[in-house]
C-alpha cells in the first residue's frame, strides 16, 4: 500500500539524506569546501544508518561563528566519530534501539561528557514507555548543568526503575535547577542526589530487569 511512501517521507523529514536537501540547507551558509565535505560525510554516514542532520547543523554553526574551515572540518569528523560510537553503544543495548534519533541523542550525550558505557546503560534502562532518545537528552542536559555524569545516570535510571512517569523524567533538569536555586549553596550534584534518594525510596522493585534476549 502506501507504506513505502510513508517510509520515504520519514526519511526525508528526519534524516534529510537526499543530496538536494543537503545542498538546499547549506546554500549560502557554508563555504564550498565545507559543503563538499558535508556531502561526502553525509553520504557515508547515512549508508551506515547514522543521522545526517547533526552534521548539517554543525557545519552551519561553524560557518556562522566564523570558525576557520579546517577547524570546522575537524569538528565535523569528530562528530561523525561520536555518531559511530553512539550507534555501537546503542546496538549493545539492543538491535531495535538504533534509530537515527537515538543515535543523535547518543552523540549529544557523549559530547556532554557521558561515556559510551553510560549511553548503553541508559538505552538498556529505557524500555517502553520510556524513549531512549529522550532519556539520553535528559541525562545530557543534567550533565550540562554540572551534575557529574555518573550521578546524572544514576538519577535518571533510578526514576525509571521506580516507575516514574515519562513526564517526570523529562522534568528532571527543571527539578534540579529548582533545587539549586531554592536551596542555599546546593550544588547541582547535591540536588540530583536528593532527587535520586527520593526516587529510590519510592521504588519497590530491585532496579531494572535485564531481560535475556529471548525467543524469536
Amino acid at each position: 500500500m502506501k507504506t513505502l511512501r510513508v517510509f520515504l517521507l520519514l526519511a526525508i523529514c528526519s534524516t534529510a539524506v537526499s543530496a538536494q536537501d543537503v545542498s538546499a540547507r547549506l546554500a549560502g551558509r557554508v563555504p564550498p569546501e565545507i559543503a563538499a565535505l558535508v556531502h561526502q560525510l553525509a553520504t557515508s554516514a547515512a549508508a551506515r544508518g547514522l543521522p545526517v542532520d547533526p552534521l548539517i547543523q554543525k557545519a552551519i554553526e561553524g560557518s556562522a561563528k566564523g570558525v576557520p574551515a579546517d577547524r570546522v572540518a575537524a569538528a565535523l569528523r569528530a562528530l561523525v566519530g561520536q555518531l559511530d560510537v553512539a550507534a555501537v553503544a546503542l546496538q549493545r543495548a539492543g538491535p531495535a534501539l538504533t534509530d537515527t534519533d537515538a543515535i543523535a541523542a547518543g552523540a549529544f550525550a557523549l559530547n556532554a561528557g557521558l561515556s559510551d558505557r553510560q549511553v548503553t546503560a541508559l538505552a538498556r534502562a529505557s524500555r517502553p514507555p520510556y524513549s531512549v532518545a529522550a532519556t539520553l537528552r535528559v541525562t545530557s542536559t543534567l550533565a550540562a548543568m554540572g551534575v557529574p555524569a555518573a550521578d546524572a545516570v544514576d538519577l535518571v535510571t533510578q526514576v525509571i526503575a521506580s516507575g516514574g512517569a515519562t513526564t517526570e523524567v523529562l522534568g528532571l533538569p527543571a527539578q534540579v535547577m529548582s533545587g539549586v536555586s531554592h536551596g542555599q549553596g546546593v550544588t547541582p550534584a547535591q540536588a540530583a542526589a536528593g532527587l535520586a534518594r527520593a526516587a529510590a525510596a519510592r521504588a519497590n522493585a530491585p532496579g531494572q530487569n535485564r531481560s535475556h534476549p529471548g525467543k524469536p
Binding site: 511512501r5 520515504l8 526519511a11 551558509r29 547515512a46 538491535p95 515519562t166 533538569p173 535475556h212
Partner: protein, 188 residues
C-alpha cells in the same frame, strides 16, 4: 580420540534439566566447567541496519520476474539510494515511543550586557544566523530580551554580542560546541 565426554548428568545440567546443586559432589567440578562453557556463549543481539533498503533495491532492480511476478514494479522512489529506504525503515523498525505532542513553547531569552551596543540570539532554531533574532533593550538598564515561539524539543544556542562575541547563556546548561566554545542547551 580423547575421553573427554561430559557425564550424562552434566549434560542434563547443560540442558537446563538439573542444577549444579543436584549433581553429586564428585561431578561438581565438571558441572562448573560446563557452566563456564555456557557462560562463554555470545548472545549479543545482531542487527543489520540498511539491509531492508538493500533487499528492496535488489528486488526493484530485477527487470524480469517469472510468471506472477512479472507485474513487479516497486515504485520509482524505492530505487533511491539504499540508505534512504534503509534509514526510513530503520526508523520504523525502531518503533519510537509515542513522540511528544507537536507543540510549540514560547520562551523568553534574557541577557544582562550593559556594555553591549547590540545583542542577538543564534541557535539551531534559526540556522545560527545572528541577523535573524536581535534582542531588544528592556526597561531595566543593561538587560536585553527576546521572546520566541519554538517547537518542542532540544535546541542549542548562544548570544552574539556586538556582532562578534559569542556568549553562552549564563543561566543555562552548557555543552562543548566542537570549536572551542560553549553552546547553551534548551530543552522544551
Amino acid at each position: 580420540m580423547t575421553m573427554t565426554d561430559f557425564h550424562p548428568q552434566v549434560k542434563q545440567l547443560l540442558d537446563g534439566e538439573l542444577t549444579l546443586a543436584d549433581l553429586p559432589l564428585e561431578l561438581r567440578a565438571e558441572g562448573e566447567e560446563a557452566l563456564r562453557l555456557l557462560a562463554a556463549v555470545d548472545r549479543e543481539p545482531v542487527t543489520f541496519p540498511g539491509l531492508d533498503g538493500r533487499v528492496l533495491t535488489e528486488l526493484g532492480r530485477r527487470a524480469k520476474a517469472p510468471g506472477f511476478w512479472r507485474r513487479l514494479r516497486l515504485r520509482p522512489w524505492t530505487l533511491v539510494p539504499a540508505f534512504a529506504a534503509g534509514a526510513a525503515l530503520a526508523l520504523l523498525l525502531a518503533r519510537p515511543i509515542a513522540p511528544p505532542p507537536a507543540t510549540t513553547v514560547t520562551v523568553r531569552f534574557v541577557l544582562f550586557a550593559p556594555e553591549a551596543q547590540q545583542v542577538a540570539l543564534a541557535g539551531t532554531f534559526n540556522q545560527w544566523d545572528p541577523a535573524a533574532t536581535p534582542l531588544v533593550r528592556t526597561g531595566t538598564p543593561g538587560v536585553w530580551a527576546a521572546t520566541l515561539t519554538l517547537p518542542a524539543g532540544q535546541h542549542q544556542y548562544a548570544f552574539v554580542v556586538d556582532g562578534a562575541r559569542w556568549v553562552p547563556d549564563p543561566g543555562a546548561p552548557a555543552v562543548d560546541d566542537g570549536f572551542g566554545r560553549r553552546n547553551s542547551v534548551l530543552s522544551l
